[in-house]
Structure formats: C-alpha cells, structure tokens
C-alpha cells in the first residue's frame, strides 16, 4: 500500500531532499505501524513528539492504511 509522509522543523534534516511541506510517497506492506515507518525513515524516536495521520493525532503502534497522510512532528509550540 502507498502512504505519503511529511516531516517538519528539526526533523527535516533527516529527509533533506524534501522541500518544505513536500511528501515522500512510500510503498509499505499491509500491517506496517507508524513506528515501523519511522524506523525505515531513520527518524530518531526521541525526536518525534507527535504523529498525525490524516490531520489527527495517532499513536506509534497504530497501523498505517492505504492512502494515509502521515506526519512526524518534533517538539513544537509557540504563540
């Protein structure tokens, strides 16, 4: 199945080929978790604070589904 993955802010250094807001489309087997996708992308677990799937917060152990828009987010806040 295909998923599209985005990373922002300090996590962008791990996928430097992506422009700001650009997605990497990945082909992963059914039953792949969000955490397993993180490992494939070599994003350090301690730097991923939030994961969003289709604009909603998700958990690392959640399964990805075909067509999902997945975003890994580091520590962010502001005002």
């Amino acid at each position: 199945m295909k998923v599209e993955v985005r990373v922002f802010a300090t996590l962008r250094r791990y996928l430097p080929e992506l422009g700001i807001g650009e997605a990497r489309v990945m082909d992963v087997p059914d039953g792949t978790t969000l955490d397993e996708i993180r490992v494939i992308l070599e994003l350090p677990a301690e730097e991923v604070k939030v994961i969003m799937v289709n604009h909603l917060q998700a958990d690392p152990e959640d399964l990805a589904a075909d067509g999902d828009r997945i975003t890994y987010i580091p520590a962010v806040a502001g005002g």
Binding site: R6, F8, A9, T10, R12, G19, I20, G21, E47, K49, V50, M52, H55, L56, Q57, T71, I73, P74, A75, V76, A77, G78, G79
Partner: protein, 583 residues
C-alpha cells in the same frame, strides 16, 4: 531597598514615589497591573477618558541577576477594544530597566492640556516631562532612532506609533529590542490608545546607577535559576538548536495547518495551501539564502531561548524583526497571502504605525471578505496600511479593528470574543483553545490559556483537539498557570520545558520565591493564578460583562470547517463552568 510604585500625573506633570501597599505586595507583572487597575480604575469609565490609567509592571524576576528569558513587561488598563480589563505583555528591553530602577510598577494617570504631547524620561533621579513635538506624527522606527540619539545610555523606549496618537482601538505599545528596533509589542487590546489618551508619545527608561533588583534569598534564587535554566537548555523545543531557536514561533505554521486548525481566509477553512511558503522553515531558508537577517535572535539581553528573527529583504538587507507565527498567519494565511516578502513588509508597517499584527491581519481579512479586495491580493493588502498612515476615513475604520471594519463592510463572519479578534488557532478544530478564547477576561487570546500544548504539541500530556470533553477544566488550568507566569516576568515559552520537566517547574517557583522572600512551598502557582483571574473577571463583571460575553461567534456553530468538517459544539453550560468556582 524595597520596590516602589512610581505614580505619574499627566495633568499636573508631576510624579511621586510610593511604598507598595501591603495588598499589592505579593504581585508582579500581570498580577500587579490587574490588581492596580481593579483597585484604581472605575470599570465603567471610558477607556480613552480621564479616569482610565495605564499601569506598567515588570515581573517578579525581571532584572534579577541572570534570570533566564525574563524580559516581559506587563501593561494594564481598561481596553478600548474590549471594554474590559486588559493586560498585554511584551518582550524587549524595558522590563529589566524598570526593575533595576527599583520600581514594582509605574501608574500613569490624568490627562495633560489638550494638544500637548510628552516624552517621559525615567531615570534614578525621577521623571522629566519633555515636549514630544520632535517625534509627534512619526512612526516607531524613527521614534526609536531619534530618542536613542537624544538620550544617553541606550535606554528602553516604550512608544506609540500614529495609531496610538489617533487613539485607534488597534493601537499597541512598542518596546525597542537590543538593536533599538520596534517590534516587541504589547499589542493586544488597544493599550497604545490608552497611552495616547494620556498625551504620551514615548517613555524612555534609563536604569543607569539604579538600585537594582533586590533578591531576598539569593541562595534559593540561584538554586531555582539553575534548575529552570537547565530545563530550558535541555528541552527539545527551547534548547539551542531546538524548534523555537531555529524556526521561531512560526515553527507552528505547517503543524497547525497539518492539524487542520489554521484559520484561513477569514476563518472559512482550517488549511491553507500556501502554508509552507510562509512558514518558519521558509523564514530560515530566506535568512540562509539572502543573508542580512538572522534566526535565533533574542528580544532582550539574557534570553536563552532566542525565538526571534530578523527577516531580510530581496537584497539581503535586514527588513523587519520579527516574522513570528501569529504575524505570518494573520497577514498571510488568513488573508490568503502566501508571499513572505509581503508578510514581512506588512509586519514592518504594523511595527511602524503601532498596530497589533493579529488584529491588523484579521481586519484586512474582513475587508477582503467584505469585497474591498480579493483574498490573496497582497499588493492591495499592503496598500491598506497607507490608508491608516494617511488617517483617511477608511484607514481610521481599519485601525479600529475587526468589529468596526465588519460593520463598515456588512460582514457577518466576525471571529471575535469581547471585541477582540482570534489568533492563529481555529477553535472549531481545537476545542480547548476555543474555551480559552470564550472565557478569558482578555477577549480572544491564545496566550491566556494555551491548551495547544497538550491538544497539538504533546506537551504536558496528549489530548484530542476535536473533543469537547474535559476542555473546560483544561482551559482553566492553563489560564491560571498563565496568569501566574505572566506575573513572573518570565517569557511564557518557559511553560513548555517546565510542564515537561518537573525540576524546571520547581526551579521557576524557587527563583520567584527567592526574589520575593517567600518559601517555595508557600507559592501555589495555580491558586495565585486563579486569584488574578478572579480580580480580572470581577472587573469585567462590573464593566457590564455577563455570561453572554463568554461565547464564540454564532457562525462557528453552523459553518462547518474543513478539513475536519466540524462546528463549535461546546455547550454553553460547559463554558459557564470554567469560572463557576468564583460564585
């Protein structure tokens, strides 16, 4: 030497130092401005009339030796925008200088002879009342420059632009940064007009040879300071090379867009297709590519977070500081504008004219909705600032903010609470922040109770942004904690490390206790925050506010917000529950 109150009377052009009365002794920053306003300002007075006052207070730890990121100055009074009590705080270099002069607060009252304008110069020797004729009618960039030439020792300059002179409800109060540029604003609520109504164009603060800040228990202060500093320096968000340091507050643009909570084109959608083009990542890219600007800029000496930036123009010359999240959102996404150079130029105009950039961006969006311009018309949007500069009738309407402009253009989608427009988080998609907007005594204000931390950022736990459940209690906790932090003088951004790192929170409390001469376990931050909120809510009640003012605008109950297709569903009873403990 105990801190003093400096009372300035603009009618008599006189000043006096007073002991801090016992009832005010435990307060600093927002807590102090709010109790003074509540005690001394008639809640029913006209905000621009002779009976309002402007109160200025640094926080408890501002100016104490190496207190990290503690440069906040609170400004208080009755707001011309909301008609309620207002505390608006700013970074910049004023807090430490006021505190080092041994002042707990400055209370400015009375009005001078009509047509007279003054520059006040505050030093260890007192206050001088100079004619402001040399800076009248000028924007804040020029004002700051002139006053640094006129006065020695690189003083703090607290000033108003043309908007404040004309007493427009969206006039903010500027504080200069270490490079003597305007851009640190007590922006919200029109306090610039309150300052203008007192006939004051600028206040210069020179702390040379001042007594400094008395620290009652230096050992306790130092212990707390170290714990807090360690927490800030180790948290991923606030450490050097962390999210705020590299990208500023605008690190949020892409994230809030991803969460579907980025108000777009006057709150008609929750995502903006051009978000990445105006994001913090793009600011950093422009700085790197063009040169002449910087990220990791500090708005005052002693800041260890350094979330500010200096944005360069196309030629690589410094244009404006700073393009932060709220500014980039208000003048960008919410107007359908995806060009950072235009956002930066409009930010410059806000800084110069003395306008709150949140209200200014929202106002332009309303004008677009009303047909004055198309959404996305960046040239037209920038041109609207010329109308304000000229003080044309249109400019004066725009300078009054969102509600006045919505009436002028017949717009019903008006994103305000208590007359103040909403900042960069959509309450239909992030319910807790909606509770804060609805119920804070300040009018729609994200900083008043930043539930975004758990609802989006995973700080202090993780909470579903789309559910109503538990949000009333969550908002109250954040509102109370914020009222306390706003009183410390610390930047609100210390909240993230201290919420995640327990020793950081303890250190923050200990540093405050050390300055104030209290026992650390005698400070209950939430309870003290609630005390402040109670004072503010009671002022508003006496000013005529009721539960009907604690509501979000009607359109949010029936207009579905994409991409989540949600409306505002929070029951009114839940909103009324937030402050039910006061009754």
């Amino acid at each position: 030497m105990a801190r003093k109150i400096l009372r300035i009377n603009m009618g008599a052009l006189s000043f006096a130092y007073e002991e801090v009365p016992g009832k005010w002794a435990k307060w600093g920053g927002r807590g102090l401005t709010s109790v003074i306003v509540a005690d001394e300002v008639d809640p029913t007075c006209h905000p621009l009339g002779p009976n309002n006052k402007l109160v200025i207070a640094p926080g408890w730890v501002s100016g104490a030796p190496a207190a990290p990121s503690s440069g906040r100055t609170s400004f208080g009074g009755k707001s011309p925008l909301t008609g309620g009590i207002k505390e608006s705080n700013s970074g910049g270099i004023s807090a430490q200088k006021i505190a080092k002069l041994g002042l707990a607060a400055i209370i400015i009252e009375g009005v001078p002879e009509k047509g007279k304008w003054y520059t006040l110069a505050i030093t260890k020797d007192g206050v001088s009342f100079d004619s402001a004729d040399d800076i009248l009618g000028k924007g804040m960039y020029e004002v700051d420059e002139i006053l640094w030439k006129k006065f020695s020792n690189e003083p703090a300059v607290i000033g108003i632009g043309q908007a404040g002179e004309k007493k427009l409800s969206n006039a903010g109060i500027s504080v200069n940064d270490p490079e003597n540029k305007p851009g640190r604003y007590a922006g919200r609520g029109g306090l610039g007009a309150v300052m203008g109504a007192r006939g004051i164009k600028a206040i210069v603060v020179d702390d040379t040879d001042g007594p400094g800040v008395e620290v009652a228990n230096m050992d306790l202060f130092k212990t707390g300071r170290k714990k807090l500093t360690d927490a800030i320096m180790s948290h991923d968000l606030t450490k050097p090379g962390g999210g705020l340091n590299l990208y500023g507050t605008n690190v949020l643009m892409n994230i809030i867009n991803e969460a579907g909570g980025l108000p777009t084109r006057n709150f008609s959608a929750g995502q903006f297709e051009g978000a990445s083009l105006i994001s913090g990542e793009m600011v950093a890219e422009m700085v790197e590519k063009r040169g002449g600007g910087m990220t990791g800029h500090g708005c005052h000496a002693g800041c260890i977070i350094k979330c500010s930036n200096i944005y360069p123009d196309e030629k690589g010359d410094a244009l404006v500081s700073c393009v932060e999240y709220e500014t980039a959102w208000a003048l960008g996404a919410n107007c359908g504008i995806d060009d950072l150079d235009y956002v930066a130029q409009m930010t410059y105009q806000c800084n110069d004219l003395g306008l709150d950039s949140i209200e200014a961006g929202n106002t332009i969006a309303i004008a677009m909705e009303g047909g004055a311009l198309e959404f996305g018309d960046k040239v037209g949007a920038l041109g609207l600032f010329d109308e304000i500069r000229k003080m044309s009738p249109l400019g004066r309407i725009l300078g009054q903010g969102v509600e006045a402009t919505a009436k002028a253009y017949g717009v019903h989608r008006v994103p305000t609470v208590k007359g103040q427009s909403m900042p960069a988080y959509e309450p239909r998609a992030i319910k807790g922040i909606g509770v804060t907007y609805a119920t804070t005594p300040m009018g729609a204000d994200h900083t008043a109770g930043y539930t975004i931390a758990p609802e989006i950022a995973g700080v202090s736990g993780k909470v579903d942004p789309l559910t109503d459940e538990g949000k009333a209690a969550l908002s109250l906790t954040f509102q109370a904690a914020t009222a306390f932090i706003d009183s410390t003088g610390y930047c609100l951004f210390i909240a993230f490390p201290i919420l995640d790192i327990e020793t950081g929170f303890a250190g923050m409390v200990e540093s405050v206790a050390g300055v104030m001469g209290l026992e650390a376990d005698g400070i209950d931050a939430i309870e003290m925050g609630k005390e402040i909120l109670k004072v503010e809510r009671n002022f508003n009640k006496q000013a005529g506010f009721t539960s009907a003012d604690d509501r979000l605008p009607e359109f949010m109950r029936y207009e579905k917000l994409p991409p989540h297709d949600v409306v505002w569903t929070m029951p009114d009873e839940d909103l009324d529950e937030v402050f039910a403990w006061m009754d």
